[in-house]
C-alpha cells in the first residue's frame, strides 16, 4: 500500500516533466548527430548538491540531452575546495566528455595560484557561459557610500584573499577606508553579521544580493560595474562616467582621477562573475565542434532559461567563442592586477 502511494506521488511529481511542448531539434553541424548520439556527458559541479552551479547544471542537462542526443549526468565533487572537480575535467581522457561549471575567476585563480595542480588555463576550453553578473556590496540601509567621509567601514568576508578584488580594489579606487573581518562561514553568516551591526557590509554576486535585499533589512549599496544596472537603477555603480569613483574623485587632479578609474575598471573586470562551462583541451577538434554546437543551442533554449529562472537564477547565455574571449580577458586582468592585489593584501590582512 505504501509503495502504491509512493508511486502515485512520484508520478504526480514527475508529470509536469513529460508534458512540455514538443519542439524541432536545433540544427547541429553535419555528422554531429551521429557522432554524439548515445555518448555520455558529465556536468561536474564543484559544490555539493544545491546552490547556483548545481541548479544551472540540472536545468541545462535535459536540453543537452534533447539537442545532442547525449546522456547527461550531473556529478557533484565538492572536495578540495572545488579543485577535485577542476582536476577531474582537466584529466579526463579524450573520449570522456566531462564539463566543469564554475566561476571563470575562481578557475583562473586556482590554476595560477596553485602550481601543485600541474595544470594551466591552456588545458581547458570554454564551451559557453551560463550567466554573467556583477558583484555588489550589500549592507546596512543607512550607509551612504557617496559620502566620502563614510567610514572607516568594516566588511564581513570569508577570507581576505578571496575578497581582494571585490572589496580591496574597489575601496582603493573610491578612497574609502575599509577593514576586513575574515572567517565568516558563508553568505548567511555574513548577512547576519551585518544585521547584528558587527560589520557594515559584505560583497556578493548581484543575484545573491538581491535575494538578501528582499528580506527588508539589507540594502544593495554599490554595484561593481562600469555603468548603471538596469535592475538597480538607483544604486551607485563603481567605475566609468557617473560612477562612484568619478563622484568621489571629482576634486582631485586629472592624473589621480585617471589612476583611480583604472583601478576601478580592474576591480570590475576581476570581480564580475562569469559562470562558465569548460572542458579539457584534450578533446579532439571534431568532437569539440559538436560540443560547442550542442552547448550553444542548449544555452539559448527557452526551456533552460525558464527552468533556471523558476529557481531564482537568471540566464545570460554566451556562446563558446565569446566565452573563450571572456576567459582570456579574465586571465589577463588577473595577471595585470597581481602587484596591486599584493599591495591591497598587505593593507587588509588582519
Amino acid at each position: 500500500m505504501v509503495l502504491k502511494v509512493f508511486a502515485a506521488g512520484l508520478v504526480f511529481a514527475l508529470a509536469p516533466l513529460f508534458v512540455s511542448e514538443v519542439r524541432a531539434d536545433a540544427t547541429l553541424p553535419s555528422g554531429c548527430a551521429d557522432r554524439m548520439k548515445g555518448q555520455r556527458l558529465t556536468l561536474v559541479v564543484p559544490n555539493a548538491a544545491g546552490g547556483g552551479f548545481d541548479i544551472y547544471a540540472r536545468s541545462l542537462a535535459p536540453e543537452l540531452e534533447r539537442i545532442g542526443g547525449v546522456t547527461v549526468r550531473v556529478s557533484n565533487m565538492p572536495g578540495g575546495g572545488g579543485k577535485a572537480a577542476l582536476l577531474r575535467v582537466a584529466n579526463a581522457p579524450s573520449d570522456d566528455y566531462a564539463v566543469l561549471i564554475d566561476n571563470a575567476g575562481d578557475i583562473v585563480a586556482e590554476l595560477l595560484e596553485d602550481p601543485s595542480l600541474g595544470k594551466t588555463p591552456q588545458d581547458f576550453r570554454a564551451l559557453g557561459i551560463v550567466q554573467v553578473e556583477p558583484e555588489a556590496w550589500v549592507g546596512r540601509p543607512d550607509l551612504n557610500l557617496m559620502d566620502p567621509d563614510a567610514g572607516p567601514l568594516v566588511a564581513a568576508v570569508s577570507s581576505v584573499e578571496a575578497n581582494l578584488g571585490t572589496v580591496g580594489l574597489p575601496a582603493m579606487a573610491t578612497g574609502h577606508t575599509v577593514r576586513l573581518v575574515a572567517g565568516y562561514a558563508g553568505s548567511g553568516d555574513q548577512f547576519a553579521a551585518v544585521l547584528r551591526g558587527e560589520t557594515d557590509f559584505t560583497s556578493k554576486a548581484k543575484g545573491t544580493a538581491l535575494r538578501a535585499m528582499k528580506s527588508g533589512d539589507l540594502k544593495v549599496l554599490l554595484v561593481l560595474s562600469d555603468g548603471p544596472d538596469p535592475m538597480l537603477p538607483d544604486v551607485p555603480w563603481l567605475a566609468g562616467e557617473g560612477g562612484l569613483v568619478a563622484h568621489l574623485t571629482a576634486g582631485l587632479p586629472e592624473a589621480e582621477r585617471a589612476e583611480r578609474q583604472k583601478i576601478a575598471q580592474l576591480a570590475v573586470s576581476l570581480s564580475s562573475g562569469a559562470r562558465i562551462l569548460m572542458n579539457s583541451a584534450a578533446v579532439p577538434d571534431d568532437v569539440q565542434v559538436c560540443l560547442n554546437a550542442i552547448f550553444d543551442a542548449a544555452l539559448v533554449s527557452p526551456d533552460f532559461r525558464d527552468a533556471a529562472q523558476a529557481q531564482g537564477r537568471d540566464v545570460t547565455p554566451i556562446g563558446a567563442q565569446e566565452a573563450e574571449r571572456i576567459f582570456e580577458n579574465k586571465l589577463e586582468a588577473y595577471s595585470r592586477a597581481a602587484p596591486l592585489l599584493d599591495e591591497v593584501a598587505t593593507q587588509l590582512r588582519p
Binding site: I55, R73, R88, A98, S159, G188, E198, R211
Partner: protein, 654 residues
C-alpha cells in the same frame, strides 16, 4: 494580518486535511528510505525535489519540505545502533552507547529509546519554535561569534565529565582532536597548513571520513571471527523490549528537556549543525547523570536518549533563522530558502506576518514528519532488531564495503579513503588500549567552530565592533560553563585512577602520536602566517600533554601485573581485516572502487575455502566478489552519480 491563533488553525488544517496529509507522509517515507542509503544525504534528495516540485502549489511544497527536513534524521540512528554505521554525521554520537547496547543484546531497547527521545525532542523543538516566533528576530541577533565561541568552549568543558579517571589520556586525546581539526587552512588567512601539499585536504580532514573510520571501520576490524565475538549474545537479552526503551525515556524526562534545549539552541545558531548538537548534548548527559556514570560509552541508555532528543529538537531551531531573517543555518536551510524564493515567499517580516499561516504549515509538517518517523521507527523495532541476529562476521564485510563507498561519495574524493583508514587505525588503537574516544571526537567536531569564532571575536575587538557588555547570552553560556566545570571538578569521581599500568603497545602508541604532534609543532614553528597563535598554542599544549603521559607511563608498572602475559594489541583474527582495510585505498587508486571492493570480498572470504567443499566455496566466493563489483559499479554510476577519476590500471571498461 491574521492573528496567531487563526494562523495556527490554518496551518494545522493545511497539514491534516485530505489529501494534503498524504504529502508529509510520502515525504517522510521518502526521506527515511533515502537516508538509509549510504552517503545519500538529505541534500541530494532536496536538490532533486526542488526541481520536481517547481509546478506544485506553495502549500504542497511547504508540506513536502517540512517532511523532508524531519524524516531524514532518525534512520541514520538505526544504522548507527544496529551496525555502528552512522547514516548521517549527526547520528554518529548515538552509536557511542546505542551500538554497545545492540551488541549486548538490547537492540530493541536502544531503538525504542532513540525513537521516543526523537519524538519528544522534536515536539519540544516545535513547541518552543512556535512560542519564540514573535520574539525571534531580536533573539537571533544576539547570537554572534562570541556566543558561538562560548558554546564551543561549553561543549569542550563537558569533556571533563568523561575523564573516567584517565585525565592525561583524555587531555591528550582532546589536544589531538583539536590539532587534527586544524589541518586544512587558517580560517582567517586561508593559508594552507599541515596539508603536506595535498589540495584534497585544503578544506580540512573530511568529518564524514573521520567519523566512519574512527567509529565504524575501527570496530568492524574486530568482528571477523575473533575471540571478542564469543561474548556477543546471538539472542536478545530478556529485558530487551520496545516498552523498556519507551519507559526508559519517560523516566529521564529532565534529561530529555535539557538535551532538547541544547539542541534547540544549537539549531538556532547558523552553521553549527546537528553533529555539534548531539555531541554537546552527550557531554552534558554524562556530566549531569545521576548515579553510576561508568557505563557511558559501553551501552548506557541515557547516552542514546540525550543526543537523540537534541538532534531532533535542533530541526525546529534551524528553521528560525531561515524564516525570520532569510539566513540559512544549515544545508537544509539553503534548500528551504531556495524553495521559499521559488514559490514567492519572502523570509523575514512577511513570514512572521502576512504569511504566518504558511509558516505554521511548514512547522506542523516538520512536526508531523518527526512524529511519523518515530512511530514508524517504533513499529519497525521488532523487525529491525532481528538484523542483529545475523552472524556478525557476515555483516562485517558489507559494512566495510558500504563504509568505503560512503566515504568516497561524500566529497567525491578517493583520497578520503586514506583519511578514513588513518582514523580507523587511530580508533582501533584507542579501542584496544582503552583511550577515551569521546574527548577526541568532541574536540574534532567543535575545534573548527571554536577557532574560527575566536578569530572573529579578536578581529571584531580590534576594529572596535564588539561590545562585551551588550552580549548577555554569551555571559550566560560562560557562566554555565564555569558552573559545570566547578561542579564536575568538585564531585566525587568513580572509576580507575590514571595509568596504573601501561602495556608496551600503549607506551608505543603514546610515543608514536607524540612524535606526530612534535612533527606538527615543528612545521608550525617554521610555517609563518598560516599558523596562528591559537594553532601554535594547541600544538604545544598537546605536545606537553603527550610528554607528561609518556613520562607517567614510563614510571607505571607493566600491564602484565604479575601474570607475565599482556592482552595482545593485534590478535591474529584482526590481522587480515586490518590489512585489507589498510590496502583498500591503494587498491582503489590502482583499480577503481568497484574492483577494490570486489577484491576485499574475495580476500576476506578466501579463508573459508578450508571449510567443506573447497570448489563449491570457491565458486561462491568468486560469485560474491563479482556481485560486489557489479553492485558497487551500478550504485556509483546510477544512484550516487559519482564520477571518480579513472584508475591507474583501468581493468573495467569506462
Amino acid at each position: 494580518m491574521p492573528d496567531t491563533i487563526t494562523a495556527l488553525g490554518i496551518g494545522l488544517q493545511n497539514v491534516f486535511s485530505w489529501p494534503n496529509v498524504l504529502i508529509p507522509v510520502l515525504g517522510t517515507v521518502l526521506a527515511m528510505t533515502v537516508s538509509f542509503l549510504p552517503g545519500i544525504g538529505a541534500a541530494s534528495l532536496a536538490a532533486v525535489m526542488v526541481v520536481l516540485t517547481l509546478h506544485w502549489e506553495p502549500v504542497q511544497v511547504l508540506l513536502l519540505f517540512g517532511a523532508l527536513t524531519g524524516g531524514a534524521t532518525f534512520m541514520g540512528s538505526v544504522t548507527a545502533i544496529l551496525f555502528g554505521i552512522p547514516g548521517n554525521a549527526a547520528s554518529s554520537v548515538t552509536l557511542l552507547d546505542g551500538h554497545p547496547m545492540a551488541h549486548a543484546g538490547r537492540p530493541r531497547t536502544a531503538l525504542a529509546a532513540a525513537a521516543t527521545a526523537s519524538a519528544l525532542g522534536s515536539v519540544f523543538g516545535v513547541v518552543v519554535l512556535i512560542l519564540l516566533l514573535p520574539a525571534i528576530r531580536p533573539l537571533l541577533l544576539q547570537i554572534g561569534p562570541l556566543e558561538r565561541a562560548a558554546l564551543a568552549v561549553w561543549g569542550l568543558a563537558t569533556i571533563i565529565a568523561v575523564l573516567n579517571g584517565r585525565p592525561l589520556k583524555a587531555f591528550a586525546a582532546t589536544g589531538l582532536g583539536l590539532l587534527l581539526a586544524m589541518v586544512g587552512s587558517d580560517p582567517t588567512t586561508s593559508q594552507p597548513r599541515w596539508t603536506f601539499g595535498r589540495f584534497e585536504i585544503s578544506d580540512g580532514l573530511a568529518q564524514g571520513a573521520m567519523l566512519l573510520g574512527f567509529f565504524t571501520l575501527s570496530e568492524v576490524l574486530s568482528w571477523r571471527k575473533c575471540h571478542d565475538l564469543k561474548a556477543v549474545p546471538r539472542h536478545a537479552a530478556p529485558d530487551d523490549t520496545t516498552r523498556g526503551g519507551v519507559l526508559g525515556v519517560l523516566k529521564e524526562r529532565a534529561l530529555v528537556l535539557r538535551a532538547s534545549l541544547i539542541g534547540l539552541l544549537v539549531g538556532i545558531i547558523p552553521g553549527v549543525g546537528g553533529t555539534v548538537a548531539g555531541f554537546v548534548a552527550y557531554g552534558q548527559t554524562v556530566q549531569t547523570a545521576r548515579g553510576d556514570r561508568s557505563g557511558f560509552g559501553k551501552g548506557d541508555i541515557r547516552g542514546v536518549i540525550g543526543p537523540e532528543a537534541a538532534v531532533d529538537a535542533k530541526d525546529g531551531g534551524s528553521l528560525l533563522p531561515v524564516l525570520a531573517l532569510g539566513v540559512p543555518g544549515s544545508e537544509g536551510g539553503v534548500f528551504l530558502l531556495t524553495v521559499l524564493a521559488i514559490h514567492g515567499f519572502v523570509p523575514g517580516s512577511a513570514m512572521l506576518g502576512a504569511d504566518l499561516p504558511f509558516t505554521f504549515t511548514l512547522i506542523f509538517a516538520l512536526l508531523a514528519s518527526n512524529l511519523l518517523t518515530s512511530a514508524l521507527g517504533l513499529a519497525l523495532v521488532p523487525g529491525l532488531s532481528r538484523l542483529t541476529r545475523l552472524p556478525i562476521d557476515r555483516i562485517a564485510l558489507p559494512v566495510i564495503v558500504v563504509g568505503l563507498v560512503t566515504v568516497v561519495q561524500i566529497d567525491g574524493l578517493v583520497s578520503d579513503l586514506f583519511v578514513a583508514v588513518g582514523f580507523a587505525a587511530l580508533g582501533y588503537a584507542f579501542r584496544r588500549l582503552d583511550w577515551p574516544r569521546v574527548p577526541f571526537v568532541i574536540a574534532f567536531v567543535l575545534g573548527p567552530s571554536l577557532e574560527s569564532n575566536l578569530a572573529l571575536v579578536c578581529q571584531l575587538h580590534a576594529v572596535d565592533r564588539l561590545d562585551l557588555g551588550s552580549r548577555p547570552l554569551a555571559w550566560v553560556i560562560i557562566a554555565l560553563t564555569l558552573l559545570s566545570v566547578v561542579w564536575m571538578v568538585t564531585r566525587p569521581r568513580h572509576g580507575a585512577s590514571e595509568v596504573q599500568r601501561a602495556s608496551i603497545a600503549d607506551r608505543g602508541v603514546t610515543i608514536l602520536l607524540g612524535c606526530g604532534v612534535a612533527l606538527f609543532a615543528g612545521i608550525a614553528l617554521t610555517g609563518g602566517r598560516a599558523y596562528s597563535g591559537y594553532a601554535l598554542g594547541v600544538c604545544f599544549v598537546t605536545l606537553g600533554t603527550f610528554a607528561a603521559l609518556a613520562l607517567a607511563q614510563a614510571f607505571a608498572p607493566s600491564l602484565a601485573g604479575g601474570s607475565g602475559k599482556e592482552r595482545p594489541f593485534l590478535p591474529a583474527s584482526h590481522r587480515l581485516p586490518l590489512l585489507l582495510v589498510a590496502i583498500a585505498p591503494g587498491l582503489t587508486l590502482l583499480f577503481g572502487l568497484p574492483l577494490a571492493c570486489g577484491g576485499l570480498v574475495l580476500f576476506w572470504m578466501l579463508p573459508s575455502l578450508r571449510q567443506g567443499n573447497a570448489l563449491r566455496r570457491l565458486a561462491l566466493v568468486v560469485a560474491a566478489a563479482l556481485v560486489t563489483v557489479v553492485v558497487v559499479t551500478l550504485y556509483l554510476d546510477r544512484v550516487a552519480v559519482l564520477d571518480l577519476p579513472a584508475p591507474i590500471v583501468p581493468v573495467l571498461p569506462a
